[in-house]
């Protein structure tokens, strides 16, 4: 009965070293008004200086989205007053943005879908305003940060599609290294436009929804809003073109109390910034920074490595995992084992130690050694888990851990290693040896416990006890 049309406006904060028009840094969370200068504060007489890293990042995203890239990019002034805007105009792009007419593919329940991209444009972020009871507080640290806005066509058809799109988009910008994609911190923001209409009647009246700070909320907000609009249409009530805010406490969208008139932004070309012409060298630098995009990489992992879809999905979830995996594969690690380990044990251990794959002391090389040890029968899979953990916590070589723990199940190696360990423990506990000589059986148990601890429970109890008694004898 109804068609649904969803479009997204995504803002990403680019991970540039400095702001888009001045040299201030961009760290998040510092004391208010400590990353500011006359330029981003909008003092009299200041002028914008274009950050070319921001432009390069923008062209990279444009490429990833298959946009037609501008060969003569322009900036425009978008004029409106708001306390968090230092100049009360935003330098943005309207006439000749970074890229237009692109597309982006994402997976929705096993099916690959594509949404068209209307345009992407580079602009500056505003500061932050917080209202307290008696005053309004302004922090301009964020003012002037590089912001890339991506506007899709209203091609998404369900709230779930919007969520999948957003998740895939986030993955893509993280792969490129241009953005953290952190919706809670605000480095990735999403507003949605949704309209509902009777089937076959084309687009309906568009409602904008703001204030959703996770992809899950985007889906929930859209679900609610679509229901609301359908109800209105069934009741033959008109849908007002407005901006509504997502209320995450009450799970509904709310119309804003103040009537917001449609802004006339009075766009005109930014006279302080000449047209940006990319040129050959610049485009080559863009190409040099591109990487294989996540969806493509996932499909390749499935076909090239024969990975199961869910494992491929997990491994390509973050670029560093995919890189780690391929490095391990290059070390001839067993593919399937590697994938399973990554999804299971390795992620668990790394998370417990607050580490990620890119800084894991268990490098792909060390990991492949570990897998080979399991293969050769030197250690059991269970023991390997312990070794992996130890490599990570101690940043040690797997071979060293295996030999010193006496894990090697080949008999003689075991014996030697065990004897060494018992000797060590005996040397460390001369008084306990004395006690055993004097007939204290509990003391034996104590030393046994030490041996088990040091061999992580792998020692042969009988052999260990014999060796301890040997030590007791030789002490004198």
């Amino acid at each position: 009965m109804f068609d649904t049309f969803i479009g997204l406006e995504i803002h990403i904060q680019l991970k540039t070293a400095s702001k888009v028009f001045c040299s201030c840094g961009t760290a998040f969370g510092d004391d208010p008004n400590t990353h500011v200068c006359p330029v981003c504060l909008g003092y009299p007489g200041v002028l914008p200086s274009l950050n070319h890293e921001a432009v390069r990042f923008s062209y990279m995203v444009g490429k990833a989205l298959s946009c037609s890239l501008a060969d003569r990019m322009l900036f425009d002034r978008k004029n409106y007053f708001y306390p968090d805007m230092t100049k009360n105009y935003q330098i943005s792009q309207f006439h000749e943005p970074v890229g237009v007419n692109g597309s982006f593919s994402y997976e929705a329940d096993g099916e690959v879908k594509t949404a068209r991209i209307h345009d992407i444009h580079l602009e500056e972020d505003a500061g932050k305003m917080i209202h307290s009871s008696a005053s309004s507080l302004l922090d301009y640290n964020r003012a002037g940060s590089s912001l890339l806005e991506i506007v899709t066509e209203p091609d998404l058809r369900t709230p779930a599609e919007a969520e999948y799109f957003l998740r895939e988009f986030r993955r893509m910008v993280r792969y490129l290294g241009v953005c953290d994609g952190n919706m809670e911190e605000g480095s990735l923001r999403c507003d949605a436009n949704v309209s509902v209409n009777f089937s076959g009647k084309g687009l309906g009246t568009k409602v904008e929804i703001k204030n959703m700070n996770s992809s899950r909320f985007v889906r929930k907000a859209l679900s609610y809003e679509i229901k609301r609009q359908r109800k209105m249409m069934k009741l033959k009530r008109p849908i007002i073109q407005e901006t509504r805010l997502w209320d995450e406490k009450h799970n509904k969208t709310l119309g804003m109390r103040s009537k917001e008139e449609a802004h006339d932004y009075r766009y005109f070309p930014e006279p302080d910034l000449p047209p940006f012409v990319p040129g050959k060298a610049f485009m080559e630098s863009v190409d040099a920074e591109m990487c294989e995009l996540p969806l493509d990489r996932k499909e390749r992992f499935i076909s090239q490595y024969g990975l199961r879809r869910d494992l491929a999905d997990f491994i390509t979830g973050e670029r560093e995992r995919a890189d780690w995996f391929e490095a391990a594969a290059a070390e001839h690690a067993d593919i399937q084992a590697c994938a399973t380990w990554m999804k299971g044990e390795l992620t668990k251990i790394l998370t417990n130690n607050s580490l990620s794959f890119s800084v894991s002391p268990l490098t792909p090389k060390r990991f492949s050694i570990l897998l080979k040890a399991i293969d050769a029968g030197s250690i059991s899979a269970q023991q390997a888990k312990k070794v992996a953990e130890t490599v990570i916590t101690e940043n040690a070589e797997p071979e060293d851990i295996i030999s010193r723990s006496g894990f090697d199940q080949s008999a003689s190696r075991n014996r030697e290693a065990l004897a060494e360990i018992v000797a060590e423990i005996a040397a460390e506990n001369p008084d306990t040896l004395k006690q055993i000589r004097d007939g204290n059986q509990k003391a034996v148990g104590f030393l046994m416990g030490q041996v088990m601890k040091r061999t992580s429970g792998a020692a042969d109890p009988g052999a260990a006890r014999n060796m301890i008694m040997e030590q007791v004898k030789t002490q004198n």
């Binding site: 006359p38 504060l41 909008g42 003092y43 009299p44 007489g45 200041v46 002028l47 914008p48 200086s49 274009l50 002034r77 004029n79 007053f81 306390p83 230092t86 100049k87 009360n88 105009y89 305003m129 309004s136 302004l138 301009y140 006339d264 932004y265 009075r266 005109f268 006279p271 302080d272 910034l273 000449p274």
Partner: protein, 476 residues
Amino acid sequence: MKHWKRSTAAESVRKTYQQQLQKTDQDLAALLEIHVEQGYKLAHQADGELAGLPFAVKDNIAVEGFSYTCASKILEGLKSPYTATAVERLLQAGAVPVAKANLDEFGMGSSTENSAYRSTVNPWNRNRVPGGSSGGSAAAAAAGMVPFALGSDTGGSVRQPAAFCGIYGLKPTYGTVSRYGLAAYASSLETIGVLSPDLELTRKVYDCIRGGDFRDQTSMDIPEDPKKIPQSAEKTEGSYTLGVLKGELGLDPAVQQNYERTKAAVQSLGWQLKEIEIPMLEYAMPAYYTIAMAEASANLARYTGIRYGFRDTTAQDPEELVRMTRTKGFGPEVKLRILIGTYVLRSGFQDRYYIRAQKIRSLLQQELAEHFSRCDLIMMPVFPTQAFPLGDSGLIPIQQKVADRFTLTANLAAIPALSIPTGIDEGLPSAVQFMAPAFGEKRLFDAAARVAKVLPPPEIPRQFSLEQLIQEAADV
């Protein structure tokens, strides 16, 4: 120049100089802040020809630690946190900024009567205006208070006060002097300019301050390759072909008299006069003001009292604060221009006004380029009248704006122009204006030097003898 350098060299002399400036300024009201010692601290130790020379800076150009009011109440009390690039280059050359000069508020006006603080008088006649908007700079330089001053020229604001005060006033090619530090009024039209009774010094100051600056991305060096210069300014000496406007120009008798006299004088030098017509000139004034006011409406949006300057303390919320601050802080002429500028940028109106104005601008540039293919220079009057009386210009505001048509041509076309003092008529200074193709400053200086031989500039009305002053200080 020696006596000027000595004015700043010894602390005792600096003190005396400070006192003398203050005393003279009681009469002229040209300066908003005088602080010789502070300026001396900013200047670098240097050896060149500008080292030690004191100068005044129009109060819409930033000098760190000095006032930065733009002659407006809305910036009352503001001290600049940074220094404009043009001033910085003078500091590096060892020159000493000693005062901030009065102006029409934000550069909007032709008499300096629009200053929110005081009206400056013309050193030649206390009942007359010094011109505007760089009236303070012109009066100070003409009165011998400083050897040169910096001003800004958006539609004639350096040339017209220079003409009214009998000194040289250079408006450089757009982009050859960095605008970083010039409080923006009309970004695509304005430049920082130089005022001085000494032509050679004007040239030296220009050479010092010009050149590309990464902080102003519309700035550039003069191209090395003459082929890159339109209408190659190769010819920089000798006999020039001078284009002069055909027909009745609507000039006051004294101005007409001077104009005819100058035509005869240059012919006596062997120059050729060529009558030209510039049909687009009729539309220059409305096109200029459309563009200027549109840009001004955006450029002045940053003045809200939130981050610096005057702040209304009665407001109950941020929106009211902005509204009240701007209502109380801006003068009527400024408000008028902001309102008109906002109007012409309105959606639906841009085609009719702003875009049309830009088209007229292009056509005017084409017409001038045509003429420069046959003329080396174009001569025009500076203003239809000489310095008019204070308080009653005999021209209502709209007439004053029409009177700008001779000077605003060069701003619309982005070409250099020099106001040349050519004598005294009816007790007041007279002048003419030479315009050259882009980057043709060298030709302007050469031509002016030749004219000075047959039409010597008037002796400036010294307010005090600095030589005597220094001598007296030395004797102490």
